[in-house]
Amino acid sequence: MRLDPIISKATAGSAGETGSWRNFRPVVNSEKCSGCKECFYYCPEGVIEVKGVARIDYRFCKGCGVCREVCMQKAIVMVPEE
């Protein structure tokens, strides 16, 4: 009986890099971004880090656009992926 499928030591990307699912890429305009962290709190994937301005980890961002919706500065735009 293999236990690997049941219990595992998780590492970043071990179940696949979900960024490949994305159709639209959220792009942060760092001049408009106030660093308020609203996007950080709402991001369902936890892929936004805010240090002064928001930075998105595109390896895992699925492009849902929630960050764009909640951004009070309208600092995020959704750009179609190639």
Partner: protein, 354 residues
């Protein structure tokens, strides 16, 4: 010690013997007396278990999964709609390969509404991967429940012990409540505070299929252990020289045996194969049946009964009678005349004893 017990009470006595760390259940007829009895034992201090009251059967199975993951010996019980509500978590339990014991007081599922016994809830568990045992009487309900803890912890597969709703769950019989020393909890893995692991994380690629294969193989292989240590997959009744055989499971087996005894007195060489386990399915035993086979079912899949299809899948052609749905219990005389028609070649391929 010999006690007068319903099958529900016999299950509770066996659970007490196994000393589970955690019991979680939601009341549903006809199972409720099992956990009522257990909660009394916990309340009085007779049984040192954590009894978790939950808001649903889905949560009950969730609680025992969580507790079992941390290494607790666990028990739950349900019936009918409760099992339906719990169904999703039954998959998580078995997929996680956790030793878990559940009692099922088998009962009809609505609609139309009915609280009496049949095997429709029970047979909906066949695809899960659980070990499925079915008791014939209160003594076996006791013994099978004890064995369920041992077996489950041996093979890391949840085990359900089914008793027939009302005809067994609420009917008292003399039970030998034997003292059994159950060894300490054994399981393939435990997750404890401080361990940084992911449990049942997403398993793409071949991982999910490998896990499902391992479970299916281990379920099949548990047959050997059941034959060796846990009373076997089937009971053979008057089958030695039989030319005709009736296949049945559960509490109805007693009446089937009585009807077969009547035919024996009339000189018919007929016997009974009672299935003590539905999973793993006793294929080998079924293939050794005499050529004339009648399967008596208390659950149907289409017009045919579930066990009839299972027996046919072993390459054994059979006639089929569907009986006892929603507590429409056949009498011994009705079974006798049905078996007589079977022996005389007058029974249709599938008949419903309504």
């Amino acid at each position: 010690m010999r006690k007068l017990l319903t099958s529900n009470e016999a299950v509770a006595e066996a659970v007490k013997m196994a000393k589970p760390d955690v019991i979680a259940a939601y009341p549903i007829t006809p199972q409720s007396p099992i956990v009522e009895k257990l909660s009394e034992m916990v309340e009085s201090g007779e049984l040192d278990s954590k009894f978790v009251r939950v808001e649903s059967e889905h949560s009950a199975m969730g609680v025992v999964i969580g507790a079992a993951t941390a290494g607790a010996r666990v028990f739950t019980a349900t019936s009918s709609h409760g099992l339906a509500y719990m169904y999703e978590m039954c998959w998580w339990a078995v997929g996680s390969r956790l030793p878990i014991v559940m009692a099922l007081a088998a009962r009809s599922i609505g609609a139309p509404w009915n609280i009496h016994g049949d095997h429709l809830d029970l047979m909906s568990m066949r695809d899960l991967g659980w070990i499925i045992s079915v008791a014939e009487n209160a003594q076996e309900a006791f013994d099978m429940t004890i064995n369920a803890f041992l077996l489950s912890e041996e093979v890391n597969i949840p085990v359900v012990v089914a008793i027939d709703g009302f005809t067994m769950s609420h009917t008292a019989e003399v039970v030998n409540v034997r003292q059994v020393d159950i060894p300490p909890r054994k399981q393939a893995y435990r997750i404890l505070p401080g361990m940084e692991v992911a449990l049942n994380a997403v398993a793409f690629g071949e991982a999910r299929m490998l896990a499902r294969y391992d479970l299916a193989r281990d379920l099949e292989e548990s047959a050997g252990l059941i034959e060796e240590k846990f009373g076997g997959l089937v009971e053979r009744y008057r089958l030695e020289d039989a030319e005709y055989a009736v296949v049945v499971t559960g509490g109805l087996s007693g009446d089937v045996k009585d009807a077969v005894d009547m035919l024996r007195e009339e000189g018919v060489k007929i016997g009974v194969m009672r299935l003590r386990f539905i999973r793993p399915f006793p294929r080998k035993a079924v293939r050794e049946l005499p050529s004339q086979v009648l399967v008596v079912d208390r659950a149907n899949t289409d017009l045919r009964g579930v066990l009839s299809v299972e027996v046919a899948a072993c390459g054994v052609e059979n006639k089929n009678v569907v009986a006892g749905i929603g507590g429409k219990y056949p009498t011994v005389d009705e079974l006798h005349s049905c078996f007589r028609r079977f022996v005389d070649g007058k029974l249709s391929d599938v008949e419903w004893l309504i």
